[in-house]
């Protein structure tokens, strides 16, 4: 049985842990606000971009369509980009993304496809290199501030793989930020570019005028779109990460609180028992005189 002093030390240690988790929760909450704003601000751009491409894609068809849009015609080589966070302590946030990606990879390998993996964020690399060390062709770490400069190298790596014929289909796994309590691991197909089939024809079938030519625009716009889609996903990930960390730390703080309560109860009981024993001893001693 632990002594009273041991118990005091233990309670103090849990209290210290609780202070840390509480602080982390508050930091995450503060950062979440900013990350959420950034993710929401990036949405209109990504959405407009997709609309513009959908519009353009309707115009070009068949062999004229760029490979980034139509694909290479083969589905043998798959490149899976797994985007997670750099840090943990966020509940199941990173694991759920990796799990979704791993399932996808396992399915592809079972089908006999060649799979290459690109990881973004340290946690995804840590979790995937145990099982798929040979398939990982590259990894990226995230910067403090997420902007196009972060997304560009990732996009460049994808293009290189695509140009070398190492990637016919590119899929990005990230966590979609639905709300503070819900982040959904989502696959997003980057190549061939996913076209929203439901987008209504905004131009009413009128002939578009292009400056410079349609093909030239598509050629610059498609790589641009890829970078933007990656950035948007990273921003969603970032917001989701802080949301997950906030709720994980909230839980930890609450659990620590419950633990302290239970331990205090035990400690006080023991202390009372000891006092009672001492009193009995004193009274017994006094009577004996």
């Amino acid at each position: 049985m632990a002594s009273l002093k041991d118990m005091r030390v233990q309670i103090a240690s849990v209290k210290a842990t609780q202070k840390i988790t509480k602080a982390m929760q508050m930091v995450a909450a503060a950062k979440l606000k900013r990350a959420q704003d950034a993710a929401e601000n990036a949405r209109p751009y990504a959405k407009r971009m997709a609309e513009v491409i959908a519009n353009l894609a309707r115009g070009v068809s068949g062999d004229a369509a760029p490979k980034l849009l139509a694909g290479t015609g083969s589905t043998q080589n798959h490149l899976v980009v797994v985007a997670t966070a750099d840090r943990g302590l966020a509940g199941g946030f990173n694991s759920s993304i990796v799990r979704a990606a791993r399932e996808h990879i396992r399915g592809l390998i079972a089908e006999g496809k060649t799979v290459r993996i690109l990881t973004v964020g340290r946690k995804g690399l840590d979790q995937l290199k145990r099982q798929y060390a040979d398939q990982i062709v590259g990894s990226f770490e995230l910067a403090k501030t997420l902007n196009l400069d972060v997304a560009q190298p990732i996009a460049d790596a994808i293009f290189t793989a695509f140009d070398n014929g190492q990637a016919d289909v590119v899929t990005l796994y990230y966590s979609q930020f639905r709300s503070v309590i819900s982040q959904v691991p989502t696959p997003k197909q980057l190549i061939p570019a996913e076209i929203e089939a439901t987008t209504e024809e905004t131009s009413g079938g009128a002939v578009y005028e292009y400056e410079p030519s349609e093909e030239e625009i598509l050629e610059t716009l498609l790589p641009r779109n890829l970078t933007v889609q990656i950035l948007a996903s990273l921003l969603e990930n970032n917001a989701g990460f802080y949301a997950a960390q906030m709720s994980a730390m909230d839980n930890a703080t609450r659990n620590a609180g419950e633990m302290i309560k239970a331990m205090n109860l035990k400690y006080n009981r023991k202390r009372q028992a000891q006092i009672t024993t001492e009193l009995i001893e004193i009274i017994a001693g006094a009577e004996a005189i």
């Binding site: 609309e51 513009v52 578009y208 400056e211 410079p212 625009i217």
Partner: protein, 91 residues
């Protein structure tokens, strides 16, 4: 003039401007162009330069770098890689 051109200027960071205006002048890669309401569907890449949005006697200017402009029946969308509002110094 009842009819107005709906224009939105967005960058990856945020939506800078969205609203109904009279006219937009933008730096296309093959020359500066102006857009009024009911412009024919038109799409172009943008060069580095100034986007001017005119509404009544109000005038907003944005310094943009790279990107695209898309004009269709619903309005005009400027997708700029980077843009910031340009504040004219008063003489």
């Amino acid at each position: 003039m009842a009819e107005k051109l709906h224009v939105s200027l967005v960058t990856p960071e945020k939506e800078l401007f969205s609203g109904d205006v009279d006219q937009v002048i933008a730096p296309g890669s093959e020359g500066e162009f102006g857009v009024l309401v009911n412009h024919a569907p038109f799409m172009t890449t943008l060069a580095e330069g100034m986007v001017t949005i005119l509404d009544g006697d109000k005038k907003r200017m944005y310094q943009v770098r790279g990107g695209f402009a898309d004009v269709n029946a619903e309005g005009m969308t400027i997708l700029a890689e980077s843009a910031e509002e340009y504040v004219e110094t008063v003489h």
